[in-house]
């Protein structure tokens, strides 16, 4: 399978109280097409920081991130945003929807920012809304939706540009268990049917086991990296 993400000696440090604190301590990682990777670890181990660096939202102190063999360090802000728009979909714990836009407008936002006309993508929009189960609510605003529904909108937004990768930061961290299960099932379906590589950061073992591979982090290092045997969760 083709390699979609690769890191080389990735490091990240922050200034804290005048001291430099290293949160990512030289990570080498490879993610292949179609994988569903769950990154786990205790708070402060650097898992979310790693995710944001992989998505080009944060920059490493040293080391490289390659997306489809392209070094993100060499990209300008505009190129990075284009990459995020076209190849990466982001899903956050608190959904991060634009409050003053409707469900449809939120989902189509990456398209319009790419210079495409929303009216030309109504069919795709309906397909995605069908996938996430929100076809009836496309003209609602985020505040009119439940947490689970808002997260589905966030997933739909992540999917609209047919990205190769979805990066999810604690996607069910703010949801009840039923909604959490539904969202994880949705991720699993997307991963299987659309062959989209998914990388999620999670605290929950149950959620992690929806993936095909679990990476355990500890103090800025990869502590373990295992494949998941899929029999129990389904």
């Amino acid at each position: 399978m083709e390699q979609v993400i690769r890191t080389e000696h990735l490091r990240k440090s922050f200034q804290n109280g005048g001291k430099e604190v290293e949160v990512i301590k030289g990570i080498d990682l490879e993610i292949h097409e179609g994988e569903f990777v769950s990154i786990m670890g205790p708070s402060g181990c650097g898992k979310s920081t790693l995710l944001y660096m992989l998505g080009g939202i944060d920059s490493p102190t040293s080391g490289q991130v390659f997306i489809h063999h392209e070094d993100m360090n060499r990209m300008k802000d505009k190129q990075k945003s284009k990459l995020r728009r076209k190849q990466i979909g982001f899903v956050f714990q608190f959904y991060n929807l634009v409050q003053n836009l409707s469900v449809a407008e939120n989902i189509l936002l990456p398209l319009t920012m790419d210079g495409k006309k929303a009216k030309d993508y109504q069919h795709e929009l309906d397909d995605i809304l069908q996938t996430v189960g929100l076809l009836e609510r496309k003209n609602f605003t985020p505040r009119e939706l439940s947490g689970g529904q808002q997260q589905r909108v966030a997933i739909a937004r992540a999917l609209i540009m047919n990205p190769k990768i979805i990066l999810a930061d604690e996607p069910i961290g703010n949801l009840d268990s039923k909604s959490g299960q539904d969202i994880m099932q949705l991720f699993k379906t997307i991963n299987k049917e659309k062959k989209i590589t998914i990388l999620q950061v999670t605290h929950a073992q149950d959620a992690a086991e929806y993936g095909t591979r679990i990476i355990q982090m500890l103090d800025g290092f990869i502590h373990s990296d295992k494949k998941v045997a899929h029999t129990s969760v389904e």
Binding site: S43, S48, T49, Y52, G55, I57, D58, D77, K78, K80, S81, K82, R84, R85, G89, F90, F92, Q93, F94, N96, L97, V98, Q99, N100, L101, E105, L109, P110, L111, T112, M113, D114, G115, K116, K117, A118, K119, T141, R143, R157, A158
Partner: protein
């Protein structure tokens, strides 16, 4: 409690810029309220001080009204009331030459001891054994300094037939008889000597009396009854004739505007501060703090702002008051010192206003915060979308209809109705603004849906739907319209003086009781035409609304019409007045205002010099309206009334008569003034050029315009600070929104483009709504301006509109540059995560 106060104080210090803006807004509004309230009293006191300087302690002025103005002291029949002081004076005119400069001289024959006791003289230097007797004179220290005159210096006076030589024996402060030394110098000399000059014996032509204040009306009434040949004037009547009311009304309107601007800025800031406090409030609530405690803590914070701001504000106000009041002293040239006094009541009003105002305004925002679900507060899931409830629009529509309804009803130009209609219009604009922005947003979105870029369309949507972007636009528009309101009033006042009056004469002879002795004035060299105006003030009350008319008795309407181009008689008014004995012609504005028709009758009460009913009784006159005129160019209050001269003589009295002269082209008007004075040496008339009169009005009007300009500038400063703070704080609130957009699909450049679109649309909306609002204001404000006496053809102030537009443009540009810099330096991760 200690920890709560500590928390508040830390907040004040941590948010230095915001604290600075709130404190400055409170401080400036307190300062304006204090200075604005104090100024009116100070101006009145200064005017009173000027009058006291001119008339000393005297309170009744008497002069003779017949052809011969000279009389003997015992000609006056005095009341059975103790006369505290009495000064009989004899005035005449002459000329002198000092250091090759020809100067007009007013010789005042008086008793020095009596005059000094009444404050009409105040010696500062004198020769040994000085007495005001033959060939001795007293001059003012002003004249002494101006012409370098010392004690013992000679002054030679030419009175036409003879020359008289005086020695400066004493120098007085520039008060009393020396007070009006503007065009001429005054010489206090012995009464006998002036009698010698005029070839008379024991004659005087003016008497100043002092009676106890509580007996004043009684004394005047007695004097009027028993001295029919005399003009008796109450000195305080002159004080009442001052433009105090217009000034006070205008000042109150200006203060009201500043208070409205400050309220809106603090209201807006309170909204942002409360939203910003959400996480802290969430923390407090999660550990068990009640809503009441939260309300208390936040209110206390605003109370702190209020207390500190108002203390600084009124301290600055007290320090600045003498300087500001001095700017409004129109009598500085006459040596009148500004009478600064600090009113405890005004200090309390200003202090309480400043201290409580932010807490009261923020109350609504805090209550709103407390109504939100606890989870929302703790998780700080703030909503940035704009709610569009129908209620404000309905209310706005009702208020808009009310505003124009009141405008329609207010035919008689009532001040209260005028203010109410402006207020209704203003609130309706504020209520309709979000809807209008939403409409603009939807319209543009539809228009550009297929051709606009994603950034453009998002910016367009934010204008209508994003609470923070919309709030910014609202605030700018509100401040814009309020400043337009003050600016339009100031412009109205300016137009009132500079653009309305038509120069129909070059010189006016005023302060004359009878025009007869001056009828040959047109025979003087350089005079091309003269018109004697017989004038009386008469009051009328129609439907609870009163008006004072300047009634002019006209003998030859053709001559009057050809002399004054500032009056245009409509249709056959001239013929009708000639035909009707009790006919009266009024300005068309007054006919419309009082809903009067040709043929209607109007009841007038003529007033005497003291603005009391003529002869002290009900002497009402009923006149029939026979025509209308347009008289704005003649008198800006459009309250002139023309009647036949015979009718005038039968029912009115000449109290404000004057003779207007036209000079031949290129005549030296100053020389002509001197010639007129010289021609009537024993008259106490006043001679002024048209420009002198304009200048006198100008000093009052200029004070008003200066006041309004200061108010506009202060309002602009508060507005600019508030708006820029709002823009910057709103950036802080929108950081998360920007971070989300960046993380899912946009570059920083695209975020900046969205911001630019929002800013451009805000600017366009400000211009459009500001223009529409100002035009509506322009219509409605006419009633308000008419109510305060500015009855002019009011024009939309386009230059002020463009200046404010430019200020908004520069302000937005400067604010946006700072925000763009912040977007490029923003830490996305920090704003994406909530942990």
């Amino acid at each position: 409690m200690k920890s709560v106060i500590k928390h508040i104080v830390i907040n004040l210090f941590e948010k230095k810029f915001r604290t600075f803006i709130v404190l400055l807004t409170v401080c400036l509004s307190t300062l304006v309220v204090f200075i604005g309230l104090s100024l009116n009293g100070i101006i009145k006191d200064t005017y009173a001080s000027m009058l006291k300087g001119a008339y000393g302690d005297t309170n009744i002025i008497m002069s003779k009204s017949s052809d011969n103005p000279l009389y003997e002291k015992h000609d006056i029949v005095l009341p059975d009331i103790p006369i505290e002081t009495r000064n009989d004076m004899l005035f005449t005119q002459g000329k002198t030459t000092i250091k090759d400069k020809k100067i007009d001289v007013i010789l005042v024959g008086l008793d020095a001891i009596d005059a000094e006791a009444s404050g009409l003289l105040n010696k500062t230097q004198q020769m040994d054994g000085f007495k005001l007797q033959q060939n001795r004179a007293m001059i003012s220290n002003n004249t002494a300094a101006k012409y370098d005159l010392q004690l013992g210096d000679p002054i030679s006076i030419d009175t036409g037939e003879e020359k008289w030589k005086f020695i400066v024996g004493a120098i007085s402060k520039t008060q009393g008889v020396f007070f009006s030394e503007v065009d001429a110098i005054s010489l206090a000399v012995s009464q006998e000597q002036v009698n010698n000059i005029l070839d008379t014996t024991d004659k005087v032509n003016t008497s100043y009396l002092t009676v106890p204040e509580n007996k004043l009306s009684e004394a005047i009434q007695f004097l009027k009854t028993n001295n029919a040949d005399f003009h008796i004037q109450n000195q305080s009547t002159a004080a009442n004739a001052h433009d105090g009311d217009t000034f006070e009304t205008t000042m109150i309107l200006a203060i009201l505007t500043i208070v409205l601007i400050s309220s809106y800025i603090i209201f807006s800031l309170a909204k942002l501060i409360v939203v910003e406090r959400m996480p802290v409030v969430g923390t407090f609530r999660s550990i068990g703090a009640s809503k009441k405690l939260i309300h208390f803590i936040l209110t206390l914070e605003f109370l702190f702002y209020g207390l500190i701001g108002s203390i600084i504000g009124f301290t600055a106000g007290m320090l600045l008051l003498p300087y500001v009041a001095d700017l409004f002293n129109a009598y500085k040239d006459l040596g009148v010192e500004t009478e600064v006094s600090y009113s405890f009541t005004y200090i309390c009003i200003a202090f309480l206003f400043g201290a409580l105002f932010p807490a009261v305004i923020s109350h609504f925002q805090i209550s709103r915060l407390n109504k939100r679900p606890l989870k929302e507060i703790i998780l700080n899931t703030q909503q940035t979308s704009q709610k569009h409830s129908i209620i404000p629009y309905i209310l706005g529509l009702i208020l808009l209809i009310t505003a124009f309804g009141l405008y329609g009803i207010n035919q008689k130009d009532d001040l209260l109705l005028g203010i109410l209609s402006i207020l209704c219009l203003f609130i309706s604009i504020v209520l309709w603004m979000p809807g209008f922005l939403n409409l603009v947003s939807k319209g543009l979105n539809r228009l550009f849906q297929s051709i606009g870029s994603g950034e453009f369309l998002l910016g367009v949507k934010n204008l209508g739907n994003n609470k923070i972007a919309s709030n910014n636009s609202n605030m700018i528009i509100v401040v814009f319209i309020l400043l337009m309101l003050v600016g339009m009033i100031a412009d109205g006042i300016d137009q009132y003086l500079h653009k309305s009056l038509v120069k129909d004469y070059d010189i006016a002879i005023t302060d004359i009781q009878d025009v007869k002795p001056y009828e040959n004035v047109d025979e003087l060299d350089n005079v091309s035409d003269a018109y004697a105006q017989h004038v009386n003030i008469a009051e009328t009350v129609i439907g609870n609304q009163s008006e004072s008319f300047g009634v002019i008795g006209v003998d030859d309407l053709e001559a009057f019409d050809s002399f004054y181009s500032g009056i245009t008689l409509q249709q056959d008014a001239k013929e009708q007045l000639n035909k009707t004995d009790n006919g009266i012609i009024l300005d068309e504005y007054q006919l419309e205002r009082f809903n009067l028709q040709i043929g209607d009758e109007i009841v007038l009460q003529p007033l005497d010099q003291n603005l009391e009913p003529m002869d002290g009784k009900d002497t009402k006159v009923t006149a029939a309206i026979v025509g209308s005129m347009e008289s704005l160019g003649f008198s800006q209050n459009r309250a002139t009334a023309l009647v036949n001269l015979n009718y005038f003589h039968d029912h009115f009295m000449e109290t404000m008569s004057q003779i207007n002269l036209k000079a031949i082209p290129d005549a030296d008007l100053e020389q002509l003034k001197q010639d007129i004075r010289y021609h009537y040496p024993d008259s106490d008339m006043s001679v002024h050029t048209f420009d002198d009169i304009l200048e006198t009005q100008k000093s009052t009007i200029d004070s008003l315009i200066l006041g309004m300009t200061i108010i506009v500038l202060l309002g602009l400063l508060i507005g600019i600070l508030g708006i820029s703070n709002n823009l910057l704080v709103s950036f802080i609130q929108r950081k998360k929104e920007y971070a989300v957009l960046y993380s899912v699909c946009m570059s920083r450049g695209q975020l900046v483009k969205v911001l630019l679109v929002e800013t451009c649309l805000t600017f366009i909306s400000v211009v459009v709504i500001g223009f529409a609002g100002s035009m509506a204001m322009n219509v409605i404000m006419v009633r308000l301006l008419y109510a305060i006496g500015l009855r002019i053809d009011f024009q939309f102030n386009s230059s002020l509109f463009f200046i404010l537009t430019a200020v908004v443009f520069i302000l937005l540009l400067l604010s946006i540059l700072s925000i763009i810099r912040k977007i490029y330096r923003m830490n996305i991760i920090e704003n994406l995560r909530f942990e």
